[in-house]
């Protein structure tokens, strides 16, 4: 099959529907997050490892896994995961972001990452070819997250792991509250946003955050039970959530089955996420194994 590959990024994307195109235009305008001018691999790793989750997922994925990241943006996670003998495919809708990723990969001298421009509904990737399908902060920006999930699950081999991060309905409440104020004040006043406070001195990063969190054209929020129902409908065995949905369980091995999966406890845990996750976007990660 022939395809175009300008800048070494194959274009496998078919024209999408109106809402998908809108999201694409949204990101095409401002690729995010950017790389500093002389970023190094150690910088990237240092930055990624500020998040406990990144460290855990890196530890959980075997050294010879084939990984696809759906919605990789500028590819920071893809590049972070591209160690040992892993092979990583980073897929995104937006060429402008991917270009940054390709540049960085070249600079870091990583040849085991391939970026492709594509749409998750028609990824143009071989079904069942990947040990790990990773997609964080993407599905909730698609018009139909449930359908989007079904289409990315197919990429995982039977027994492969599916790692999905979406906004949590509970943990996003604080942000939604702030958004009401923000909209009323036409984004002039956004109260108590810890990320904005952190980035006070960096107006461009502030603007990027506001754009992404407060002005996104397409956004859905989900509960753990909802994601679990996606899993069940697609023959994906639920393993665990991050943060853990089991009260008092420390996440160590992300690919191990959680000690329990008790729905009441899951709801309690989600209410508990309002605190720690509510600070930022309220993204939680659910991990499953394709059966």
């Amino acid at each position: 099959m022939c395809y175009e590959a300008p800048d070494g990024i194959p274009n496998l994307r078919l024209p999408g529907d109106r809402r998908t195109e809108m999201v694409r235009d949204f990101y095409e305008g401002a690729p995010f997050p950017d790389y500093p001018r002389r970023a190094t691999l150690s910088w990237l790793r240092g930055r990624a490892e500020r998040s406990e989750f990144a460290k855990l997922i890196d530890r959980a994925i075997p050294g010879d896994a084939r990984i696809v990241e759906i919605g990789c943006g500028t590819g920071q996670m893809s590049l972070y995961l591209a160690s040992a003998n892993r092979i990583v495919i980073g897929a995104d809708l937006t060429r402008a972001s991917l270009r940054l990723g390709v540049d960085a990969a070249r600079r870091f001298d990583l040849d085991q990452v391939q970026f492709i421009e594509t749409d998750l509904h028609h990824p143009g990737l071989r079904a069942g070819a990947f040990d790990v399908v990773y997609s964080s902060g993407v599905l909730h920006h698609t018009p139909d997250p449930r359908a989007a999930f079904a289409s990315i699950v197919r990429l995982a081999r039977p027994g492969g792991m599916i790692v999905v991060g979406v906004y949590n309905a509970f943990a996003r409440i604080p942000l939604l509250a702030r958004r009401v104020v923000a909209r009323l004040s036409r984004y002039r006043f956004i109260p108590c946003d810890p990320v904005l406070r952190d980035r006070e001195s960096e107006p461009t990063r502030c603007a990027a955050w506001v754009r992404d969190q407060y002005q996104h054209p397409e956004e859905h929020r989900h509960t753990l039970a909802e994601v679990q129902s996606w899993f069940a409908a697609n023959d994906v065995e639920y393993m665990r959530a991050y943060p853990s949905a089991v009260l008092g369980e420390e996440s160590e091995d992300l690919f191990a089955r959680a000690a329990d999966n008790w729905s009441l406890e899951g709801w309690l845990a989600q209410i508990g996420w309002i605190g720690p996750l509510g600070h930022e976007g309220g993204l939680f990660v659910t991990i499953g194994r394709r059966s």
Binding site: M1, C2, Y3, P10, L12, P36, R37, R38, A39, T40, L41, S42, W43, R45, G46, R47, E49, R50, K55, R59, P62, G63, D64, R66, S83, A84, N85, I87, I89, F108, D109, L110, D111, Q112, Q114, I116, G124, L125, R126, A129
Partner: protein, 594 residues
Amino acid sequence: MNILGISAHYHDSAAALIADGVPVCAVQEERLSRHKGDAGFPLLAIETCLQQAGIEREALDAVVFYERPMLKFDRVLTCTLRAFPESWRTFPKAMKNLLGEKAWMRGIISSHLGVPARKVLFTEHHQSHAATAFLTAPTRRAAIMTADAVGEWATFSVGEGERGSNGTTKIRRFREIRFPHSLGMLYSTFTAYLGFKVNEDEYKVMGLAGYGQPTLVEQVRKLIRRTPDGAFALDLDYFEFHTTAERSYSLRFVELFGPPRNPYEPIDLDTAEGQRFADCAASVQRVLEDTLVDLAQTLHQETGLTDLCLGGGVALNGVANVRLLAESGFERIFVPPAPGDAGCAIGAALYCDRIHFGNPDRDLPDHPFWGPSVDGSELARIAQEDGHHIEKLSENVLIDQIAGDLAAGRIVGWMEGALEFGPRALGHRSILTAPHTTKMRDRLNREIKYREPFRPFAPVVPVEAAERYFDIPPGGTRLARFMSGVFPVRPEWKPQLQAITHVDGTARVQVLEPGMAPRLHALLEAYGRRTGIPVLLNTSFNLAGEPIVNRAVEGYSTFLRSKIDILVAGGTRVTKRTSAMDKTEAGRMKEEVA
């Protein structure tokens, strides 16, 4: 007589067991719990010690903790009072921390180990450092200098140690400098200012210093002035570590040196900003060296001794150690393999044995290998289960084959015998590669260690060949035994030793005597026979942010998670199932994208 030494609760916990005057086992908790810099009560380490000695808890004659908790409480309380009212936020935290747990070490140790409280003893923090430095060093009589961030009150002390002809041992400390005046704190403050992790990444400052010029020495001297009696004192206006826990430098410090580095931005040495940070590092390094040299000169004149034992975290600064050797007047300098707080576990136990119980002095084995041993057959079993290619080879064949692998440019994970005690991998848990090209250095950085590009890798060389490749002054061989010194690479060899030569033309070389690690020595010789240069790059066997591996399984999982080509434990050699087809596989995947 069985004596257990414990160091815990600040950073890097450890336990050490002395039986009949000789260490049986010493191990850092992080190596067992697998949490880097684990500061918790070292239960696992204690357990390992008891197991290795084959004794029960009841057989312990004493358990020695490496500092005096109540003296520490006094210091924290006094400093909080002095900083009133700025310290109001730290006060509840500090009190909960100390009074909730750390002040009651006697009870905690006795409750964990079930030994009676009277068997729990304490040595002073710097006394433990001094004991680690002197009692593990092969010298009869030596001056002792210890320097770190802070123990109870002392931050710096000088003294002397003596082994009498009748087997008695004496350690006498003359005088000390007290908190908040501290060389370690000065260096740590710059570590934080330069965006690195305090108590962990001080060596990065040293590495960065090689890229800068000491142009800011005058400014640094404003922070630390010499007192008329020859000691030093910090100008506290520039610091905040004594009042808050959040930040160690003050606004005035920032006024003097400019804005601090954002820890998450890479250092770009080509920009003025990046160069400024390198110059800062070079300047504080220079001031540290100058101060240490001056203090050591005074000590030398005062004692008239030829040997100096260095202890405390500052003794990890290899550049300073070499300047001490060159300029202080001492002929030999001894730095233990674990001069930091973890090493105090051994020091406290030895001090208790030699001085408290007055047991006769004994010569100690002069090596750092006091941890659990690695089992080659365990590796063979698990690697076989996963279908990797394993070979069990006899000694000579293995050495020869590994030398061949190294010569072919492969990266080797090397595990043998007992685990090192202390922060450095000295040949029992190492990643070894050929040291010749910058390409190899970059490959290691990119695929395994993810280090900042300005941090050098260290070489290991057999003692017979050391002089040929490195410019090692008299007495330097001793420092290089445990990688405690940084020495110039001989200019004619620099092109062949690119991967281990720092930008300033030096290397933190380990000079290996055959007796210390015979197999590694044999490997170096075999490698020398093949390539003509018996030098290997030796870096600790761990991935970034993880503690050094201990057991075969940990080495094995590290091997699988990185691009180490070959793993050796004991007589077992493992190669990866997929390593050969790695590239083609990637190519195929890319094709399939279509």
